[in-house]
C-alpha cells in the first residue's frame, strides 16, 4: 500500500519582483513519506527561513510544488477527484501555530466544533452533534460544560490550542500536521498540549507531523526527525541517533546552541566562532558551507547527496562520503519503520 502522504523530489520556489525577478528556494528536492501504519510522529525541525511552514502548506495541498509531486495514497494531489479531495481533507488535518489568531472572536467555541461536523455530515441530530463536540473536548482534557457556550477570549493560549486539537480530532483523521503547536503558549501548558499529542498518537493511532523550531520538544514526542536548513535536508532519521550523536555540522551547531535548563551544563561556546551574516547569494553548493567550520572546497560547488551513515539515519554532508549514497527507496523506508515510544 502506498504511504498516506508522500513528497517526491519536491521543490518550491517563490518569485518576486517584475523586472529583476528574484527567486527564493523555500524547499529544495525534498522527499518524504508519512506512513500511518503503525502511527508515528515525525518532527520537522528548522530555524526561521528553513522552509518548514512551506513544507506544511505543500503537504496540505494549499500550495502546489514548483517541481516534483505531492502524493496522497500514491495519487498526485493535483489530480484528485472532488470526492477524493473530500476524503483527503478529512484524513489530513492541521493545527496552526497561533492559538490567538485562528478563532473568530464573534463566534462561540461551539461554532468552531460544529462547522466540521456539519461540513462532513458527522451527526444527524443536534443531540448527536453536541455529544461529538463534548467527546472531542474530553479527549483533550477539557471539561465540555466549562468550554461550550463560551467565547475564544475567555480561554488561555493552551486551552485554545487544545480546542484546535479537539476540532481536528472530530474528523478522526489519520494524520495531523501540527505547525509549531506549542510555541506560543506558556511552559506550564506546553507540556500538557504535547502530552495530548503523544496520547492521541498512542490511543487513537493518529500520526503527526510535528513542525517546530524547538528541538527539545521535537525530541520528546517524535520517533523520526528531519532537520532542515535553508530549504534542504541536513539530517534525517531516528530521533535518538540524530539528537544524541548528530553527524551534520549544522545539527551539531543547533544542538549545541540550545539553552539547556541546567546551570551546570553550559551551552557550547564553540558556536561563538560561527559568524552570522545577512543572507549571501547562494553559490550552488552546500547551503551551510558559508557557516560550516569543516568547509571543504567541493562544498562550495556541488551540493552533497544524502549519505546513509547508519541503517536509520541519513545526512547530506561530505564529511560522511565514505557512507553509501542513499537511494530514494532507502530514504523513504526510514519513515516506514517506527521505533516504540516510552
Amino acid at each position: 500500500m502506498p504511504p498516506l502522504l508522500e513528497l517526491r523530489h519536491v521543490t518550491k520556489t517563490f518569485s518576486r519582483g517584475l523586472i529583476n525577478r528574484q527567486r527564493t528556494v523555500a524547499v529544495e528536492d525534498f522527499s518524504f513519506a508519512v506512513n500511518t501504519d503503525p502511527a508515528s510522529i515525525t518532527a520537522v525541525v528548522g530555524e526561521s527561513g528553513s522552509g518548514k511552514t512551506t513544507l506544511a502548506r505543500l503537504l496540505l495541498g494549499v500550495i502546489t510544488p514548483t517541481a516534483g509531486a505531492v502524493l496522497y495514497k500514491g495519487r498526485d494531489l493535483r489530480t484528485l477527484t472532488p470526492e477524493e479531495r473530500h476524503t483527503f481533507r478529512r484524513e489530513v488535518q492541521v493545527i496552526f501555530q497561533d492559538p490567538f489568531d485562528v478563532y473568530n472572536p464573534f463566534y462561540k467555541i461551539d461554532h468552531v466544533l460544529e462547522v466540521p461536523i456539519e461540513k462532513f455530515g458527522l451527526a444527524h441530530s443536534q443531540k448527536e452533534k453536541r455529544a461529538l463536540a463534548e467527546q472531542a473536548l474530553q479527549t483533550v482534557g477539557l471539561r465540555p460544560e466549562e468550554t461550550l457556550g463560551r467565547y475564544p477570549h475567555q480561554f488561555s493560549g493552551g486551552q485554545r490550542q487544545r480546542i484546535m486539537v479537539a476540532r481536528a480530532l472530530l474528523l478522526k483523521p489519520k494524520l495531523i500536521i501540527a505547525d509549531e503547536p506549542a510555541s506560543m503558549i506558556d511552559a506550564s501548558s506546553r507540556a500538557t498540549v504535547l502530552a495530548n499529542l503523544r496520547q492521541l498518537n498512542q490511543d487513537f493511532g493518529i500520526s503527526f507531523i510535528y513542525i517546530t523550531h524547538d528541538l527539545t520538544t521535537a525530541y520528546q514526542i517524535s520517533q523520526n526527525i528531519v532537520v532542515l536548513y535553508a530549504g534542504s535536508v541536513t539530517e534525517v532519521g531516528d530521533v535518538e541517533m540524530v539528537v544524541n550523536q548528530p553527524r551534520h555540522p549544522y545539527t551539531q551547531l543547533l544542538i549545541g546552541s540550545i539553552p539547556l535548563p541546567d546551570p551546570t551544563r553550559h551551552w557550547n561556546p564553540d558556536g561563538q566562532t560561527v559568524q552570522t551574516t545577512a543572507a549571501q547569494p547562494w553559490h550552488g553548493g552546500c547551503k551551510f558551507a558559508d557557516r560550516c567550520p569543516h568547509v571543504m572546497p567541493k562544498c562550495q560547488s556541488t551540493p552533497p547527496p544524502l549519505y546513509r551513515t547508519d541503517p536509520r539515519r541519513f545526512t547530506t554532508c561530505y564529511l560522511h562520503e565514505a557512507a553509501p549514497v542513499a537511494s530514494d527507496a532507502d530514504a523513504l523506508a526510514v519513515f516506514a519503520a517506527s521505533t516504540p515510544t516510552v
Binding site: T192, S257, T277, A278
Partner: protein, 326 residues
C-alpha cells in the same frame, strides 16, 4: 515586607522595594506588579522569569519609567544612585535613561530606524546626553562600540535592512552600552531570534556587560536561557515574586512549589520523559483578593494559603521564598 531586600549588601546598584504597578481599567484595577522587592548588585546578572501575564514586562517598563496610562505606579521605591526612580520628575528620569539604566526591549531589533545609518543611531545617545565629541572621537567610539559587540567597523555605514536579525540585535546592545550604564534591563532580548543566533547574542551581551561592569536584569519566559545566563533568578507569578535565589540552587532544589512544577514541566534533551504540565490557570489579576496567588493550582496547598498571603522571606542565606511551607 516593606524593607525586604534580597541580600544584605548595602552596595546594591539598584533596589526595588515593595513596588506596585496597577492598570486602572473600567472593571477595576489589574495588579500587574504587586509588591515586588529585590536588589541588584553591581555587575550581577539577575533573571526574572514568568509566564505571560505575570507582570515581568511591566517591571521592565516601570524600571525605565516608560509606563503609559492606564498603568500607574501605586507605591514602592526604585532606588538607583540614591534617587527614587518611582517619583523622580520626567525630565530628570530622561537624564538617567541610557546613561545609568538602559533598556534592550522585546524585539528591539525592529526599533532601529530604517532610514538612518547605524553609526548615527549609535551617536544619538551621545547627542541627547550632551556628550561633546570631535569627529575623530566619534569615529573611534563607534568603532569601539561595534567591536565590543563583535561587529565589523563597516557596519557603521550600513542601514538596518542590510543586517541580519542577530546583527541588528548586536547594534541595539551597542546602543545600550554606549554610555556605560550601571544597569541594563533586557526584556526578552532574543525572543525573535533563532537558537544559534540567540546564543551568540546572549554571549555578546554577557561579554559587553562584563567589560563595562554593568548589572543586567534579564526578563523572559525561557528557563533554559535563564539557566545559561543569570547568576540569580527570581520566579514571578501573578505579579509577585514567588522565589528568588542563586540560579544553581533554584534548579537543584526549588523551594516554591510553583518553581518546582515549572522546572519539572521543562522537556529534556537527554531522556524521553512524561510531559507534565501544571494543571489550572493563573488567577485573574483584576481585583484579586488575599491568599497565595498560586493556591488554586498548588499540590501542597494548606488552609492558611487560601486566606493569608505568604511574605517573601529569606529562609536560607540568599534564598528567598514566599510560601507557607517554610
Amino acid at each position: 515586607m516593606t524593607a525586604a531586600t534580597n541580600h544584605n549588601s548595602t552596595a546594591a546598584v539598584l533596589q526595588v522595594r515593595d513596588l506596585r504597578v496597577y492598570y486602572h481599567t473600567t472593571r477595576g484595577s489589574v495588579k500587574a506588579v504587586d509588591g515586588i522587592s529585590f536588589s541588584l548588585n553591581p555587575g550581577e546578572r539577575l533573571g526574572l522569569v514568568g509566564e505571560s501575564g505575570s507582570g515581568k514586562s511591566t517591571i521592565a517598563l516601570t524600571l525605565m519609567r516608560l509606563l503609559k496610562p492606564p498603568a500607574r505606579i501605586e507605591g514602592g521605591e526604585i532606588l538607583l544612585d540614591a534617587k527614587n526612580l518611582a517619583t523622580l520628575p520626567d525630565d530628570q528620569v530622561r537624564l538617567l535613561r541610557l546613561a545609568s539604566i538602559a533598556l534592550i526591549a522585546q524585539g528591539a531589533m525592529n526599533s532601529l530606524n530604517p532610514v538612518i545609518r547605524v553609526q548615527d543611531q549609535l551617536m544619538d545617545g551621545f547627542a541627547d546626553h550632551a556628550v561633546q565629541l570631535s569627529k575623530a572621537e566619534r569615529t573611534a567610539r563607534v568603532r569601539e562600540l561595534l567591536e565590543r559587540v563583535g561587529l565589523k567597523p563597516e557596519v557603521a555605514w550600513m542601514y538596518p535592512h542590510e543586517l541580519s536579525g542577530g546583527m541588528k540585535q548586536r547594534v541595539v546592545i551597542a546602543i545600550a552600552i554606549s554610555l556605560r550604564p550601571k544597569v541594563i534591563v533586557a526584556d526578552e532580548p532574543t525572543s525573535a531570534l533563532d537558537v544559534v543566533v540567540q546564543m551568540q547574542v546572549m554571549e555578546t551581551l554577557r561579554k559587553a556587560q562584563q567589560e563595562i561592569g554593568a548589572a543586567v536584569i534579564l526578563i523572559g519566559h525561557d528557563m533554559g536561557l535563564m539557566a545559561q545566563f543569570v547568576d540569580r533568578l527570581g520566579v514571578m507569578y501573578a505579579g509577585k515574586l514567588m522565589e528568588i535565589s542563586p540560579v544553581g540552587e533554584i534548579f537543584a532544589n526549588p523551594l516554591h512549589p510553583y518553581s518546582a512544577l515549572l522546572i519539572a514541566s521543562l522537556p529534556s534533551l537527554t531522556s524521553k520523559s512524561q510531559l507534565q504540565g501544571i494543571p489550572g490557570l493563573p488567577p485573574s489579576l483584576l481585583n484579586r483578593q488575599g491568599g497565595c496567588p498560586f493556591y488554586a493550582r498548588c499540590p501542597k496547598a494548606m488552609e492558611v494559603c487560601q486566606t493569608e498571603e505568604p511574605p517573601l522571606r529569606e529562609i536560607h542565606p540568599q534564598r528567598w521564598v514566599a510560601c507557607h511551607l517554610y
